[in-house]
């Protein structure tokens, strides 16, 4: 009996020594010590033995099984180690060769700045409102307190579709539409495309503007200056502040033009600010009571402010783009820079 077990052990030893793959080893394992192996068949003889011989017999078979298991484990470790060494040799990599790239796309610089403006104002509780590009005279001029003979109403300034239908000259039109539909408090910005009948190096017939409107009880001139300065600092950095110059706009009173410290030279004077240290950014003011009256908003109870800034201009300053026409040429060599 012991001899038979030795035979099994010997044949297992020699077969396992010959193998070189994990897969083969698995097969050998089930052949020698699996459920249907010779060794396990041998074990079945136990029932025919007298009771007192059974424990010794069982122990002997188990010892053999353990020995074979040990040989298999040793062999498995050796195969894995040699496979690993092969892998190291075969997987040669030139670390300096380029990787598989995914082509980079880009948002248009106007969109980038547009989104940043929206996000800054959304974070301060503003809603983003939209309105039509094709407008009527009422929303573009009358409701904004523009006198009937104002030069902006000329064909030389504004594009017309029909007698009193035109392409909006500013996104203030959206303010009017919002005040028609919603009661205060109102806190919106309206970014959008505007049109003016001019086309030269510094003016585009289509351009982008963002207007802000806040109407509530107790809205003050100080709030206007605050919000503008907060916005400018978030947009251009902590060093940037603004100053107001008295001006005239039909729909605000008092009205002002907004200058900001030149983002290029921080006020020292350079070619962008033409040496002044300041850049003109847009217009602002407190909403004229006439505008409220026209829209049936209680001008005693409510006050409000509005301001407008050029999105394209902000993009040009932010990305140091020297020529406005580049923005609409859509040259991918330009677009992919952003």
């Amino acid at each position: 009996m012991k001899e038979e077990l030795n035979k099994i052990l010997e044949s297992a030893k020699s077969e396992i020594d010959k193998t070189g793959s994990i897969h083969e080893l698995q097969q050998l394992k089930s052949r020698f010590i699996g459920k249907k192996s010779g060794l396990m068949n041998f074990m079945k003889q136990i029932s025919s033995l007298p009771k007192e011989e059974r424990p010794a017999f069982g122990q002997l078979v188990n010892e053999t099984k353990q020995q074979i298991t040990n040989i298999i484990l040793k062999c498995e470790a050796a195969i894995k180690e040699s496979d690993y060494k092969k892998t190291l040799k075969s997987e040669f990599i030139d670390l300096t060769m380029p990787g598989r790239k995914h082509e980079k796309g880009s948002l248009h610089p106007i969109t980038l700045v547009w989104r940043e403006i929206e996000d800054i104002f959304i974070s301060m509780g503003f809603d983003v409102a939209e309105g039509p590009d094709v407008e009527d005279e009422f929303h573009n001029f009358d409701a904004l307190n523009t006198p009937p003979d104002h030069p902006a109403r000329n064909l030389s300034d504004t594009f017309y579709i029909e007698n009193d239908v035109l392409l909006r000259a500013q996104t203030s039109t959206v303010q009017v539409r919002v005040m028609e539909k919603h009661k205060p408090p109102i806190k919106i910005i309206s970014p959008g495309r505007c049109y003016r009948n001019e086309n030269d190096a510094s003016h585009s017939p289509a351009f982008h503007q963002v207007e802000a409107l806040v109407v509530d009880e107790d809205v003050t001139f100080a709030d206007l200056r605050d919000i503008l300065n907060i916005f400018l600092k978030k947009m251009f950095g902590e060093d940037i502040s603004s100053r107001f110059r008295p001006h005239f706009f039909p729909f605000t009173e008092p009205s002002a033009e907004i200058d900001i410290i030149c983002v290029n030279c921080l006020g020292k004077g350079c070619n962008i600010c033409k040496g002044s240290g300041w850049l003109e950014m847009g217009g602002a003011g407190m909403v004229d009571p006439n505008v409220f009256d026209m829209l049936e908003i209680d001008s005693e109870k409510y006050t409000g402010y509005a301001f407008g800034l050029g999105i394209d201009r902000i993009a040009m300053l932010k990305f140091k783009i020297p020529d406005m026409r580049m923005l609409f040429a859509n040259d991918v060599r330009f677009l992919k820079q952003f």
């Binding site: 880009s106 969109t111 017309y160 919002v178 060599r333």
Partner: protein, 796 residues
């Protein structure tokens, strides 16, 4: 902390149901964690009379009682030695439940028992388990025990914030409620009568650690009788979750629960040297405590000691060497205040947390010590008898001074925007027993009561005002505005972002267009895009209309870039298009237009460049539509005239065309001077959103059973479209067939003309079971049979 409704009513005449009281407490800052009805169980227990008692024939210790429950006579086996004929007892009938214990009909040594005669412990009334509870003779037979003992009550488990130790007693809670409900607070009358003997004659007090014990008040009572507490006292303690022990200990616990300030009583007999010494423990000093543990102390711990041994760990737990027993006759009553940080340290190190340490840890007031001492002495004299020795021993080296805090009504208005006048503010605070001390212009000076150490600054007073005013009674002004179209706003951004991540560059063109471009694109005269808004005063003829399609603009961008040598282009524009016919203004819609030309990927040394094909474009379209949550989209042959015939598709969603894509007809490309192969697609974003509501995904349970995958390959006529084939497969068993993935199309001369070979991977899974091979094989057979019937497939 647990409070009892009935008990609370002793101090304040509230008339609220438990729900209302819970709400009042919650919104004044006292969170109610749970509400328990007390005595519900005892409603099942009935007062019975033992009408006959005989001894059990099989067991000496058991007796057979016949109990009259008011309805009938029942046989009950009882093991208590004190049960006797004619007694009134608490009877729990079969079916009643005491705690987890359900009373059943049982047989004890051959005799049947229909219920149980209960002890006080079994009833949860006290720890007494010496025998059954015996009721007075006049107790009405048949009445339930809860109503008879007046045990029904409601208890509230409160979460007291650490800044409010004054709320750790019933009186504190009642005081807050009295301020809140504007009801008077009724404090117990306290008067003490003492004998002739002076306390100094019997006891000495030495406070050796005033930095850890800011006050120590001792009173002495001689000749008390220690016994069980009266029913009313036990009831109170049980209602707040304390077990009655004996009258003196119960009184100290009662007063602790009443005023939130713990006390302790010592047996005078055990005090060696007739001395109370407050001192730091000596190193490794040991004390056997009431919880049957012996603690080893350190010098930082404070103990109460007599001349030779520690008798309590100060403020935490008493010693077993000096506690009140049934033999006690003379007692020393301790009411003190200890350094809260030190109590916390000792309690944490020794891992002992008691009702006492819990309270002392929270910085109690020195003044309350005298009040509780007096109150406890009064109750002991009333309940346990004895004579009070004259005077107190009181170590109070640094008496607590009343704090003055100034409040500016203008500040209250500024912070809270409530418009209450000064009188109302004063009333609020006086309700909490703050006393107006002085009044100047916009300045009210309040004297803070000793039990509110948490009120030290103006802002603390403002908090009290708003708490009493009600947080939710503060008027709010801001209204939310709903002007923004968030759905379309964020979807537009998402589309842009996805396209950028696929390598597309965004272009932005002016809105002006050349009307001739519509002819170049073969747009029919009847098409919506022919309804254009014409500009009266345009910059030129090629800018004469507002654009109704974004295509010409993007074609011109492409031409420009190709002329710069950029042949691989992926461009998109997302912008408005305009239509105008009968409307006064114009119809304005957002369109997305995408253009691809050249090779798909930048050159990569491992692979050959690949020209863009129809399926590349379709893949992007499908991804974008998925990102907008659009499902069940159909693709049909395009109606547009600018696609190469057979290579353009319209995208159909809910029977509406929401866009199109395909290969630009090379002839049309040439009219825009484009020689390369161009693919385009367009989506009308506004049309999509007029059809689609924003849906948030809702969680679906993840399959518990692993899916089974099988491949299926067959030859089929090209007249059958993939969509129809998939439908036939799915219909066979839509619950089990989870996915049908095409992974190969094969066309060659080995397959007959007009046919193609398709290979699918089918995914099966069930929510309820593991699918067997047999089941899957049968299902596959049915699928094949269905396909053979409808499409005449040939298996490969």
């Amino acid at each position: 902390m647990r409070i009892s409704y009935n008990w609370l009513k002793q101090y304040i005449n509230i008339n609220l149901n438990s729900k209302e009281l819970e709400e009042k407490l919650t919104f004044s800052g006292i969170e109610v964690e749970s509400i328990d009805k007390i005595g519900e169980e005892l409603k099942q227990v009935i007062i019975g009379k033992i009408v006959e008692k005989t001894s059990h024939p099989q067991a000496d210790k058991l007796s057979i009682c016949r109990v009259d429950d008011g309805n009938e006579i029942k046989q009950v086996i009882c093991g208590a030695p004190n049960c006797a004929k004619n007694q009134k007892i608490a009877f729990a009938p079969v079916g009643s439940k005491l705690g987890e214990f359900k009373i059943k009909k049982v047989k004890l040594r051959g005799e049947e028992s229909y219920g149980m005669i209960c002890s006080e412990q079994e009833l949860g009334i006290s720890d007494n388990h010496d025998g059954i509870m015996i009721l007075p003779d006049d107790a009405p037979t048949g009445k339930d025990l809860a109503s008879y003992l007046n045990l029904t009550d409601t208890s509230f488990e409160l979460e007291i914030t650490p800044n409010r130790p004054d709320l750790l007693g019933m009186v504190g809670v009642a005081r807050d409620l009295s301020a809140l409900l504007k009801l008077p607070l009724n404090l117990p009358e306290m008067s003490l009568k003492s004998g002739k003997k002076k306390i100094e004659e019997a006891l000495a007090l030495e406070n050796e650690a005033p930095e850890l014990c800011s006050r120590y008040v001792a009173r002495m009572i001689e000749g008390v009788t220690i016994c069980e507490s009266p029913q009313w006292l036990k009831k109170r303690l049980l209602a707040v979750g304390l077990r009655p022990i004996n009258n003196v200990v119960d009184i100290t616990n009662f007063v602790m629960m009443e005023f939130g300030h713990p006390l302790h009583a010592f047996d005078y007999q055990d005090l060696e040297g007739k001395k109370i010494i407050v001192r730091r423990a000596t190193k490794k000093e040991k004390i056997p405590a009431l919880d049957e543990e012996t603690y080893t102390l350190e010098q930082s711990d404070l103990v109460i000691a007599d001349a030779s041994k520690p008798i309590a760990i100060a403020g935490i737990i008493g010693g077993v060497n000096s506690h009140i027993t049934s033999q006690t006759t003379n007692i020393v009553l301790e009411a003190a205040n200890f350094n809260y940080a030190n109590i916390r340290r000792t309690s944490r190190r020794l891992k002992i947390s008691t009702d006492s340490s819990y309270r002392f840890e929270r910085n109690l007031s020195d003044e309350t010590a005298e009040i509780v001492s007096k109150r406890a002495a009064q109750l002991i004299l009333e309940i346990a008898g004895g004579t009070l020795l004259q005077g107190t021993l009181d170590s109070y080296p640094d008496p607590q001074k009343a704090n003055i805090v100034a409040l500016r009504p203008s500040r209250v208005k500024k912070l809270l925007t409530i418009k209450e006048d000064d009188t109302t503010l004063i009333n609020y605070l006086e309700g909490l027993e703050l006393r107006l001390h002085k009044q100047e212009k916009d300045k009210l000076f309040f004297e803070i009561p000793f039990f509110r150490k948490d009120l030290t600054r103006e802002i603390d007073l403002i908090e009290e005002i708003i708490r009493l005013h009600g947080y939710n009674n503060v008027e709010t002004f801001h209204k939310s505005q709903n002007i923004m179209n968030k759905l379309s706003f964020y979807a537009r951004r998402k589309l842009q972002d996805i396209l950028v991540s696929y390598g597309f560059c965004e272009v932005i063109n002016w809105s002006f267009a050349d009307p001739k471009d519509l002819d170049s694109l073969n747009i029919p005269e009847s098409d919506e895009r022919r309804n254009v808004a014409k500009i009266i005063n345009p910059l030129g003829n090629d800018f004469a209309i507002m654009r109704s399609t974004l295509l010409p603009g993007i074609f011109k961008n492409t031409l420009l870039n190709i002329s710069h040598g950029q042949k691989e282009l992926k461009l998109f524009e997302l912008n408005k298009v305009f239509f105008r016919k009968d409307e006064k203004l114009a119809t304005e819609k957002y369109n997305l237009t995408v253009l691809l030309t050249g090779n798909l990927n930048p050159t990569f040394w491992k692979e050959k460049p690949k020209e863009i094909d129809f399926y590349d474009v379709k893949g992007i379209v499908e991804e974008l539509l998925t990102s907008l949550d659009l499902e069940d989209v159909d693709y049909i042959a395009s109606k547009e005239n600018y696609f190469q015939p057979g290579s353009g598709a319209d995208i159909i969603f809910r029977k509406n065309c929401i866009g199109n894509f395909g290969k630009l007809d090379p002839k049309i490309a040439q009219t825009f001077s484009l020689e390369q192969i161009i693919f385009i697609f367009e989506l009308s974003i506004d049309d999509i959103f007029s059809l689609q509501e924003k849906r948030y995904p809702t969680y679906k349970s993840i399959a518990k059973f692993p899916p089974v995958l099988r491949d299926l390959s067959f030859v089929i006529s090209k007249e059958f479209l993939l969509k129809d084939i998939k439908n036939i497969i799915f219909k066979t068993n839509p619950k089990i067939i989870k996915n049908v993935v095409l992974f190969d199309e094969f066309i060659s001369d080995k397959i007959k003309e007009g046919y193609r070979s398709l290979t699918f991977s089918l995914v099966f899974s069930s929510e309820t079971k593991t699918l067997t091979d047999e089941f899957i094989n049968n299902l596959l057979k049915t699928i094949i049979a269905n396909l053979e019937k409808s499409c005449k497939i040939e298996m490969r």
